[in-house]
């Protein structure tokens, strides 16, 4: 319980900003710059300080609030903008990715750097919050796997709770305790937005479709919930939305998957997971733009796609998995 009369700060409240605010004409008697009150004589017997005793009228307090709220909001916007500048260490991402959206001119791509990923799971948290993905780890638009390589070259893959709680950095799973581990890396997974997508062709009612910019979406008004696309996806990137709790787009019983946060990228923002990643392991951009972060990453780093032998032509590229056999 907060007592408005409680003195939170032993020092008198800072008031230099107040003079800038013109006093309302209705209260000319109130001095625009009240002198710092002397806490001693104005103190209540129990040590608290009354507002009136502090020399601040209720009107002045409201005026202060009217100024402070817009200032705080402005500061938040400024902070977001500054965060964007430094997010992932890629300054180019600070610019809105599009000005006016024309899907025909974009070809979105995604690069996951497994050398950089620390397995914190913040991407999964951000995704669930942004897209109202069910809390149950079984249902995920994005998740993080731990690939542990032992000395015999075997890669053990696990993903307890989809990695949403974060992994202990560099630690192998408990099942491999005592084994000779040569490498532990974290691999973020999401829909591959395949150019030859197996999910779109099999849908009996055309509810799953590809946009001109290459994003595969699900029409929740048309989906019948047969699960054919879920079974057809080689990457396990789809699920049927369970009823109750969080539901993307508020509809249960339909297929759902990562859309690269289509609602964000078409309004000039980046996917939530990209913005949430504290180490810049996820890079998003336009493959048609040679200067985009994704194009730069693809030029500068060796990458591979998952299950490339299937011919699905994913648009999610991985850095650091060159030596790993597809699983």
């Amino acid at each position: 319980m907060i007592d408005v009369n409680e003195r939170l700060d032993p020092e008198p409240p800072a008031v230099p900003a107040v003079p800038a605010v013109p006093a309302p004409p209705a209260v000319p008697a109130v001095p625009a710059v009240p002198a710092p009150p002397d806490p001693g004589p104005d103190s209540l017997p129990d040590g608290r300080v009354s507002l009136s005793y502090a020399g601040v009228s209720r009107r002045q307090l409201l005026t202060l609030g009217a100024v402070a709220v817009p200032c705080l909001a402005g500061a938040t916007v400024l902070f977001d903008w500054l965060s964007g500048l430094t997010d992932g260490g890629v300054a180019a991402n600070a610019e809105p990715i599009v000005a006016r959206y024309d899907p025909a001119v974009h070809r979105w791509g995604f690069v996951v750097d497994t050398n950089t990923c620390i397995g914190c799971g913040l991407c999964g948290v951000a995704c669930k919050a942004e897209n109202h993905v069910p809390k149950d780890p079984e249902y995920a638009r994005t998740w993080v796997e731990r690939h542990t390589t032992t000395s015999d070259g075997t890669v053990h893959v696990d993903s307890p709770d989809g990695g949403i709680d974060g992994y202990e950095p560099g630690a192998p799973p408990a099942t491999l305790a005592g084994s000779s581990v040569t490498d532990v890396r974290f691999v973020a997974r999401l829909c591959m937005q395949c150019e030859n997508s197996p999910c779109t062709g099999v849908c009996p009612v055309g509810a799953t479709y590809r946009t001109p910019d290459g994003i595969i979406l699900v029409d929740e008004e048309r989906c019948i919930g047969c699960g054919y696309c879920v079974v057809a996806c080689p990457y396990g990137a789809r699920y049927i939305v369970p009823a109750g709790g969080d539901m993307p787009r508020g509809v249960a019983g339909v297929a759902d998957k990562c859309t690269f946060c289509y609602h964000r990228i078409t309004t000039g923002r980046r996917p939530a997971c990209v913005e949430a990643c504290p180490v810049g392991a996820r890079t998003f951009g336009d493959l048609n733009d040679p200067a985009s972060p994704v194009s730069v990453a693809l030029r500068e780093k060796p990458t591979k796609t998952l299950k490339s032998d299937l011919g699905t032509k994913p648009r999610v590229f991985y850095v650091g998995l060159e030596g790993e056999v597809d699983a």
Binding site: A140, S159, P204, A207, P242
Partner: protein, 446 residues
Amino acid sequence: MTVTVAGREVALSPRLAYRALVAEVERTPRVLKVWYSFLLALMALGAVGAAFTLAPGTEVFGTTPSFEWGILISAYVFFAITTSGLCLGSSLGTVFGIDMFRPLEKRHAILAVLSLTTAFGIIALDLHYPVRMAFGAVFNPSFSSPMWWMGAFYAAYLVFLLIEVWSMFFGHDDVHRYACLASSCTAVLAPSTLGAVFGVLFARGFWYGLFTPIAMLVTALLAGSALLGMVFYFVVRFELAGFERGRTLAIPAIRILLAVALVGSLVLLGRGLLVGLTSEDLALHGGTMALLSGPLAIPFWIRLVGGLAIPLVLIALPATRTVSGTGIAAGLAFVGVIVDRLLFVSAGQIIPTTAVGGVVSDPYVAYTPSLVEISIVLAAFAFVAFVYTLAERYLDLREAEVHMGFHLPRVVATAPERLRTRWAARRVAPAPTPADAVEETVCGEP
């Protein structure tokens, strides 16, 4: 008010219907009453289970995103292919007019309609939006989807079957012939397309491939023949309508069908195992190993021995080529196909495509059917058994005399003969040419 159906008067007024029902129940033998009660109890259980599935997205199944298709899909596949198998076998009598297969036709048609409607009912419960599916398939068809084609073929199949049954019981011979031909053609198309639903999924190595539709077709023949074998065993055993022809013709005919289907299934199973064991595809190899020595091994080996090998031996040995031997072989094969469909759907998904949700890459994906799923599947079998028992009791299922095979339209049927006659006439009396006239003149000289 009453109407006469199949020679029996059926009351239309609720009061009369109630009285008729009470009277009929009193006349029903005690054994049948117990049988009906058992089936009705199962159906009631399934109805309760089905009620839980009505709200879209309700998590009442044991399936997960890693194992999306459970025993309802297995049951759907089973009933759908059984429908096709029933028609494949009996088409030898209904379309090709082979006498020994003709006793199958009425019973096969009833069973096929029941089996297909049950399959549709199951898939409707498995889908989250079945009504949307019905409209979506018509107004937003996706012609690239095997599932759409499967639905289209099975929907057409149901129409053909209903026409076949109607024309058979009401004596419309010409309509019946065409309905039989259409349903027999669809009986090949539909299960093949159902096989393609699985066969096009390259993400699922165990299902993927050209042989999946072929295997589905052979399994369909096995399922349909086995069901007919069980039914005709009871027909002969309890001396039901047409049991004489059933004993002398239908049972040997079913033995032939079963033998062909069992050998075909064994050959295709052997091919699948051989390919799976030597494959480098993780899903195909892993699925095969799951069958041979993994979590699916026990039902797989039981099915292989009990559902394929023993029935084949029972049919092959002269000593067991009897009505009882055929009935037992058919029963074992029937149960074997049920197990086989469960294994088929499971083995295709048991190798995880991802490690999401705590699944580790090397073990198998776990799936345990829920009580709701089990109750629906049991109710589906109970429904078929219940309605078929009623049909056996109240309909005249003796061999129909509506046709003797399929006859082509007169214009088409007589076309070769007319052409032959015309050509022969031209050869015998060719039109005179100027050369002929000259030759005739020369030859005519003294």
